[in-house]
């Protein structure tokens, strides 16, 4: 009898393992419904500061929606009850087949679309049926710039202000174009592709200035941020993120909170001799601005080269967050989230400004879902880290010491010369890369589209040749614990825990959009555009786009008074280069190691930029 039941047990176990392995083979099983992990708690919650996030006028004039970078639309016609009826209003082919990371902009009945290289700018007339093109502006960037862009030839967005559209081109120029006529007003050459500099970021326009930073942290460039006069395009100030204090615009106003960031000329002394001149710390991500204090906030990229043995020291001011006075560029504080970065954990992610309940008052803070896997809440006046909580799986560090501000290293994950370090989590693109989260003042939650990848990494000596990659690392990425490569997390920043999580099969490379109707939108790399309930993550609606979605969704009020949702598909970027650059999936180190993690992507989507705009039926 005992023997029989044993056989039954074994047979049962075999059947179960068959089922399990079958599940494992089908990637679709990695996509799951939401797992609700905590209730939304009532009472006071985080709110964006009014000065940085004014009342919604129905336009969408900058990628982050406002200076607080909430990516929140106050329009509420679309709700969980009716979003199922959302239907296509019109479409527009962008004429490109590279990674499309930019959002469309909408200003008083006109939509503006900036494409990846060759950086076409289209104006579409929303007052006419089908939204015909009003004009197209072609800036004609140098073709050779494509060869020094590390991670596809993307552009992260244009900005509208005071009758003009401002944007950057891959070959290092900033343009101002008249929003009505499509005529160029000015252009300024800032980057030099011969040194490996490109520009992919969206500028921030505030205080009469256009703020722009360079890309090229993988090419041995020296990172900087520049402020151009909004009217003329002339340089007002330029701050480097490495080098002597005078170059970094560090002066009497600079008061970093933590001892590790204090001292003279740390931008030189925390590097081997001359290494700071080719040390990265670029500005290819997101800027936010607090009009009350006139402080602009931005993060710096990884230090170069990737091989950390060639740059002993903290490598200031890489992989950290600067607060600067927007008028002069003078640094006010700095916090380095990853001193002596080991894993390409840039710190360029979005900076969401919020005021949180603090005793009986409110405290001005900023939220950052960081690349190194921690969700930071930082006092935006002082740079003090109030909390740093993992929002994904992290073994590459052991936490953040809130006394010293310093990331606590994990000795077993520290790369050593001559051997491969395995199972580093999160991988180089971090627990989240560039694609910004959205913050809803209705729920008080931050909606984080992110990734779940780990990697093996080995180093060799990097050889600096200007205009070529400066890396010294071989990387191979793969799915992290659980097998799902993407996660969508609704994060409670006050209670420092997820409210719900949705597992996604593919890495999430699309930003999120939150709306006052309690519907949240995001896209997947195989082309699904999804609407979920902001309170519990339930999937409410989805639409299959022609290509994978890595673009920024927006919501606007059309000339007819209706609420519209717009997103541009076009797979690519670092995560999707395997498709947009037609790479060969047999090489696991392709695209700086990302190719291995998305080997199946070419079977699931094809390249091509297309705008989709949705509305409820009349």
């Amino acid at each position: 009898m005992a023997r029989v039941s044993g056989v039954v047990l074994i047979a049962g176990a075999m059947a179960a393992s068959c089922v399990l392995s079958a599940c494992k083979r089908s990637p679709a099983s990695f996509t799951s419904g939401p797992t609700v992990t905590a209730p939304i708690v009532g009472g006071p919650h985080a709110l964006p500061p009014a000065a940085a996030a004014p009342a919604d006028d129905g336009n969408w004039t900058m990628p982050g929606k406002n200076y607080a970078a909430t990516r929140f639309s106050a329009l509420n016609q679309i709700t969980p009850a009716n979003v199922g009826k959302l239907a296509l209003a019109f479409t527009f082919s962008t004429g490109t087949n590279k990674g499309f990371e930019a959002p469309p902009l909408v200003v008083n009945g006109t939509m503006y679309v900036i494409t990846p290289f060759p950086n076409y700018l289209y104006a579409l007339d929303l007052t006419k049926p089908g939204a015909p093109t009003k004009w197209t502006f072609k800036p004609k960037p140098a073709a050779a710039s494509q060869g020094v862009a590390c991670c596809d030839v993307v552009n992260r967005g244009a900005v509208y202000d005071n009758g003009r559209i401002f944007f950057n081109t891959l070959d290092g120029q900033t343009f101002a174009v008249d929003a009505n006529s499509g005529q160029m007003v000015w252009r300024t050459q800032l980057g030099n592709i011969q040194r490996g500099e490109t520009i992919t970021m969206a500028p921030l326009v505030a205080d009469g200035k256009v703020l722009v930073g360079n890309s090229g942290g993988e090419m041995g460039v020296r990172g900087w941020i520049a402020a151009l006069d909004e009217g003329s395009g002339k340089l007002v100030w330029k701050a480097y993120n490495t080098g002597p204090d005078k170059d970094v615009l560090i002066g009497p106003r600079f008061h970093p909170l933590y001892a590790m960031d204090q001292g003279k000329d740390l931008g030189v002394r925390s590097w081997p001799p001359d290494a700071w001149k080719i040390g990265g710390a670029t500005v290819w991500g997101w800027l936010s601005y607090d009009p009350e204090t006139h402080l602009v906030y931005y993060g710096t990229s990884n230090p170069g080269p990737w091989n950390p043995d060639q740059r002993p020291g903290d490598n200031k001011w890489s992989s950290g967050l600067f607060a600067r006075d927007i008028s002069t560029g003078q640094a006010v504080w700095f916090y380095q989230s990853s001193p002596h970065d080991l894993f390409d954990h840039d710190d360029v992610n979005e900076v969401i400004l919020a005021d949180i309940p603090w005793g009986n008052a409110r405290r001005p803070v900023l939220f950052r879902p960081g690349r190194n896997g921690y969700f930071y809440v930082i006092d935006r006046r002082s740079g003090q880290v109030l909390s740093a909580t993992p929002y994904g799986y992290v073994n590459s560090s052991k936490g953040v010491d809130l006394k010293t501000g310093r990331l606590i290293p994990a000795a077993d994950k520290e790369p050593k010369p001559g051997r491969v370090t395995r199972d580093i989590c999160p991988a180089s693109p971090g627990a989240k890369d560039w694609n910004p989260a959205a913050f809803s003042p209705v729920t008080g939650l931050v909606y984080i589209p992110h990734i779940n990848l780990c990697q093996d990494e080995g180093h060799s000596e990097a050889n600096y040749i200007s205009g070529t990659p400066y890396l010294g690392a071989d990387v191979k990425m793969y799915a992290g614990p659980g097998g799902n490569r993407g996660v969508f997390t609704a994060w409670d920043p006050i209670r420092r825990r997820p409210v719900f999580e949705i597992k996604e099969d593919l890495p999430l490379w699309s930003p999120a959009l939150a709306t006052a109707g309690n519907v949240v939108f995001y896209g997947t790399m195989d082309g699904w555009f999804k609407a979920i309930d902001a309170r519990n993550g339930n999937l409410l609606w989805k639409f299959k786009a022609g290509s994978g979605i890595i673009g920024q969704p927006i919501s606007y009020k059309g000339p007819d008074g209706r609420q519209y949702i717009a997103v541009i598909c076009g797979v690519g970027g670092w995560a999707g280069a395997i498709v947009s650059a037609q790479m060969d999936a047999r090489d696991p180190t392709g695209a700086l190691g990302f190719a291995n993690a998305v080997k199946d992507l070419p079977l699931k989507t094809t390249a091509g930029g297309m705008l989709y705009v949705f509305a409820l039926p009349r």
Binding site: G220, W237, K238, G243, N463, I465, T468, M583, D584
Partner: protein, 184 residues
């Protein structure tokens, strides 16, 4: 080109014809950089008006194609000159893949050598004057091997240069001494 080199070239070519497989181990004059011997110009899909076929394979190609020493030296240069940063180990990234069977500018070794020497307009740098012609041919031989085009017995599992000195190239190690000043 010295007459002595021309003679050895002829000898090598003759040997190659006679003894197909032996040339994979042939050492040639890579220690002595030669002048402008990289073919210029034509790419594979170019139309050649007035003729019915593209020009024949460059005669120097035989010295390098399927030659284990050239491929091994090319592999060393591939890492040293940062080709790997853009093309990875053949899978591509910033630059196109090299291990597949698609060639934008031609997959013949002389065409690959031309691409390396002259650069291409969408971002491929020009290495003429940065590498010797001999080194450019070596690199081309290695790039071709990534696609699996040369015979297997010529593709070495060894890499040259690991125990010996780094190959001397003509590339200046980027001028990082003169930093640009912050405030223009």
């Amino acid at each position: 080109m010295s007459s002595r080199f021309r003679v050895s070239l002829a000898v090598l070519a003759g040997a190659a014809l006679a003894l197909g497989a032996c040339d994979r181990e042939e050492h040639h004059s890579r220690a002595k950089p030669v002048g402008e011997t990289v073919p210029g110009g034509a790419s594979p899909d170019t139309i050649f008006p007035g003729t019915s076929s593209p020009p024949p394979l460059d005669a120097r190609a035989k010295l390098y194609d399927n030659n284990a020493n050239a491929i091994a030296m090319g592999q060393t240069l591939y890492t040293q000159m940062n080709c790997v940063g853009c093309h990875s180990h053949g899978g591509g990234g910033m630059g196109p893949p090299l291990m597949d069977d698609q060639w934008r500018y031609g997959g013949r070794i002389d065409q690959i050598a031309t691409t390396i020497a002259e650069g291409r307009p969408n971002g491929m740098p020009s290495w003429r004057g940065k590498l010797t012609a001999d080194q450019i041919w070596d690199l081309a031989a290695y790039v071709r091997s990534l696609s699996g085009l040369p015979s297997k017995d010529a593709v070495s599992s060894r890499t040259e240069g690991m125990s010996g000195p780094t190959p001397q190239t003509l590339t200046p190690h980027g001028d990082i001494k003169n930093s640009d000043t912050a405030q223009q």
